[in-house]
Symmetry: C2
Subunit: 532 residues, 2 copies
């Protein structure tokens, strides 16, 4: 058969040729924003590749981005990857020190930045001498200096040096993207995506039992493009010629509801907090989203009650999913026609990912259904070795350890039961915080909930229940603990309840348990003991 | 990212693990047939790999099949491919001489055959000394001798030598399948499919705008597994865990209608003549197919009126498509939600295939929409070089010449306008038979129609209209020609109308124009001249 390399620039080429006028719409802080067809975007993006070459960037060089979901960010994605540069997406919610460590490890030579993030980029560039060029998207930057870097605006760079470039003229195993994990459980680790891994991930996600996006769809990407390839959607949309709707910086309920209505969004993807905002907005202001058919959620486990509320209020099917930065990121997803919320878990793995459950020693469990084990995965879009690591992150059978505890039901639906690193060892036995959090989280006045370990002289560790009440209500700690009786073993029930006004969140929106543990250790937590 | 080879055995592995009890149902000449889950089929198929190794077959060896769509045929597919053998599907409608030439070129070492085809296999084996083993599926063979080959029944072979085998332990560019083109326009040519090309073709076909098969579907494969990978459906069904319904030998309307009803078929794939049979049966006998949602048709252009009749009578959407053996075979397909019949043509190319239109000299047409040109294609599942050919079958840009004349509308829908080899050169200008056939084919009393060239002293060539009337009606030749006036240029109108009782068909069901031209040349055609 023909030689044909699997490179991601082919997605945009395909869209430009077969859906030239299908639009990419990017909202801009509530204003009209930008609107462009795939053919025009492909031309701009390809000419931007030429500009990147003209300012000295070469095959394999890293181009960092610090940007929201915008047309310019999408242009940089394809301009970098198409030319064989590595698009290194940075999370603007990381601290500047954290970002500087990442940029230094990656030796990023250029940094493309949304104008509203220019101050952060300025601090970062001052710390990172590897950054030779800063490209400011959207507008003129608010300041003029970014360390020693030469500063361009996106449009000025295109105008000065834009030129047609040859795309995809390299091996499909070439690096395309770089993304660091959130580091909630340790130092951030880089995952280097290849063209092949992204291409195969795209086809995998496009299956009819997965994202099932068609050329007739209008797709809202409310998941940040700086995190894990934006769930692969910036590849999937042009691959099928779907309309691509990018919310820019503002993902509050009012902005998203307006955008979804204005652009007839049929499929929307984002984490549950985003949809809570949309629900609350619609409940308060009224309104419907008549075109919406499906919502793809991921990030962390969504309570069944919220799924039911979303399906009822929005008139759309909710597809639960599970993924990780290390998986490009799609692991499992509930099909569009999945059973009710309670029975779908995080869905099933579409072709292209193998899962297995092991015991704590890594031995494959003899029974893989209806039991909880450590979840390991294998596939062409799964990390083999972290960026610049000395050794593979794989077991002897070539599987990657997700660090998750999970179970799989008889229908093949995965349920994440917790993180292995969160487990609490009390009296030589394991307590799974996620199970306790699940139960307490169902209480109508509980907003966010976390269970962490505190050192205990007698038992080794004991669980502490930390809650953020809803709307400032003061909770009855004893009543919360009572909800656990009969649901978990008595010795699993925490000895201490701590109420916090605001739960600390890590940069990806997950609860920051590292900070919670530190706060506890430093005596910054006042709690209420359990009545035993 | 992880090393992971794209091999087709992973489709069946995935189904065995994630849809172990989803069934493969094979009808057996009107009787109950077989019914087995994917896990059980995977075990049998894998053990059959062990048996093939035990009788001496080695990596890269060719195993021919001469078989209907049955469970055993599917087992051989995966047993051969999984072990790195090449599954060479033979078309039982080819003549024995034709088959012998193909088997000799391929040097097939084994031949697996449906019991009802054993007599043909016997003749074939006698002519082909390369065949060392004959495996008779389904039942005891009606005769004992197959040339000098050792004879096994499928079950006896499994019982005697079945053993677990290692699957997919080779490069993804290894050959998986071999299929020869029909040879309506010349000598048959072999297309050697690789694991990679089949894997990528499967993911391509599974997109939501293409075949869009889900795990909830029940898929009828009424297209023969011996032709062009059975449109890739024996791969696509296990890849998503769909129920797979195989009709065996009998694809008449009554058998198919019963099978579709009994097995709640939701998606059915086959050529138009098959659906005509189903329609006629249901019209005569009554009955509905309530589960049926979609019908995928291909092979040759289907009249709009027949599409509309199918959609109305069967209550299902018809997806038109275009493909070739050389394309694995999917080229274009109309999405499930495509516009009305008249506007969908043969559909659009899902990601993974590039198309271009050129002039007769191979130069790309400056305008690619709304004009007719020679259709050339490129992609990872497109032939690069025919089996055992001396040179690539590609142009300087790496495109394969399909031999089709085609146009593409503004929406990207392809319409095949004819075959370049069928074109008739009259007075130095080209006449396209397909356009004439289209118009005459709309006449309610015309069954099949073909336009061929006859030599002409003055004009070089002139067109002859050959028709097979419906149900033995005698047609008025002048009236037929009259339908062309105003629709095509006057000089395109044939000078001669020939009525035949039965149109000669090639082994793949297409009209055999080679035979028609030979019959005309030999004076075996009596025609009616045109009144000018």
């Amino acid at each position: 058969m023909q030689a044909y390399t699997l490179t991601v620039d082919k997605f945009l080429d395909h869209a430009a040729k077969w859906s030239p006028n299908r639009e990419i719409v990017a909202a801009d802080q509530g204003r009209a924003g930008s609107r462009l067809g795939y053919a025009a975007l492909r031309t701009r993006s390809n000419r931007l590749s030429g500009a990147l070459a003209a300012i000295g960037l070469r095959f394999g060089d890293r181009v960092a981005t610090l940007a929201w979901n915008t047309q310019h960010h999408l242009e940089i994605y394809y301009a970098a990857m198409g030319a064989g540069l590595v698009c290194h997406t940075l999370n603007p919610r990381f601290t500047v020190a954290h970002l500087a460590a990442i940029v230094s490890e990656a030796e990023d030579r250029a940094l493309a930045v949304s104008a509203s993030l220019a101050p952060l980029a300025g601090e970062l560039a001052a710390l990172c001498p590897s950054i030779e060029h800063v490209i400011v998207m959207d507008a003129e930057p608010p300041q003029r200096t970014f360390g020693a870097a030469r500063v361009w605006t996106h449009e000025a760079l295109l105008e000065a040096h834009g030129a047609p470039a040859s795309w995809g003229a390299f091996d499909e195993h070439a690096a395309a993207g770089l993304c660091y994990t959130s580091g909630t459980t340790g130092n951030p680790k880089g995952v280097l995506y290849t063209h092949r891994s992204n291409y195969l991930h795209t086809l995998r996600a496009l299956q009819a039992d997965a994202f099932a996006i068609t050329g007739a769809d209008s797709l809202l990407v409310a998941v940040p493009m700086f995190h894990a390839n934006g769930w692969g959607l910036p590849f999937a949309a042009p691959a099928v010629g779907a309309k691509l709707v990018l919310p820019g910086r503002h993902t509050d309920g009012a902005s998203l509801a307006k955008l979804m209505r204005d652009e007839d969004v049929t499929i929307a993807a984002g984490v549950q907090t985003v949809w809570l905002g949309v629900l609350d907005h619609l409940d308060a202001e009224g309104g419907e989203l008549p075109a919406l058919k499906r919502i793809i959620i991921g990030g962390s486990k969504c309570p069944d009650a919220l799924i039911e509320r979303m399906e009822e209020r929005l008139g759309a099917r909710v597809q639960t999913s599970w993924g990780m930065t290390e998986l490009s990121p799609l692991g499992t997803v509930a099909p569009p026609d999945a059973p009710p919320a309670a029975a779908r878990g995080a869905g099933r793995p579409p072709l292209g990912l193998d899962l297995k459950l092991t015991d704590a020693d890594g031995a494959t469990l003899p029974k893989q259904r209806g039991v909880t084990g450590r979840l390991k995965v294998k596939g062409p879009s799964v990390v083999g070795r972290y960026y610049k690591a000395d050794a593979d992150a794989l077991d002897s059978e070539g599987y990657f350890d997700t660090g998750d505890l999970a179970s799989i039901d008889e229908e093949g639906n995965l349920s994440i039961a917790g993180r292995t690193k969160d487990l609490i060892k009390s009296g030589g036995e394991w307590i799974n915080p996620a199970e306790i959090e699940d139960i307490v989280g169902r209480h109508p006045h509980v907003g966010l909930v976390a269970v962490i370990a505190r050192p205990d002289a007698r038992w080794g560790e004991r669980p502490v229940l930390v809650v953020e009440p809803r709307q400032g209500v003061r909770l009855d700690g004893q009543a919360l603990l009572k909800t656990l009786r009969g649901e978990v073993a008595d010795w699993w029930i925490p000895d201490l309840v701590v109420q916090v006004e605001t739960m600390p969140l890590a940069a990806t929106g997950k609860i920051d348990k590292v900070k919670l543990r530190a706060d506890y250790a430093a005596g910054r937590m006042a709690g209420e003991g359990a009545n035993r």
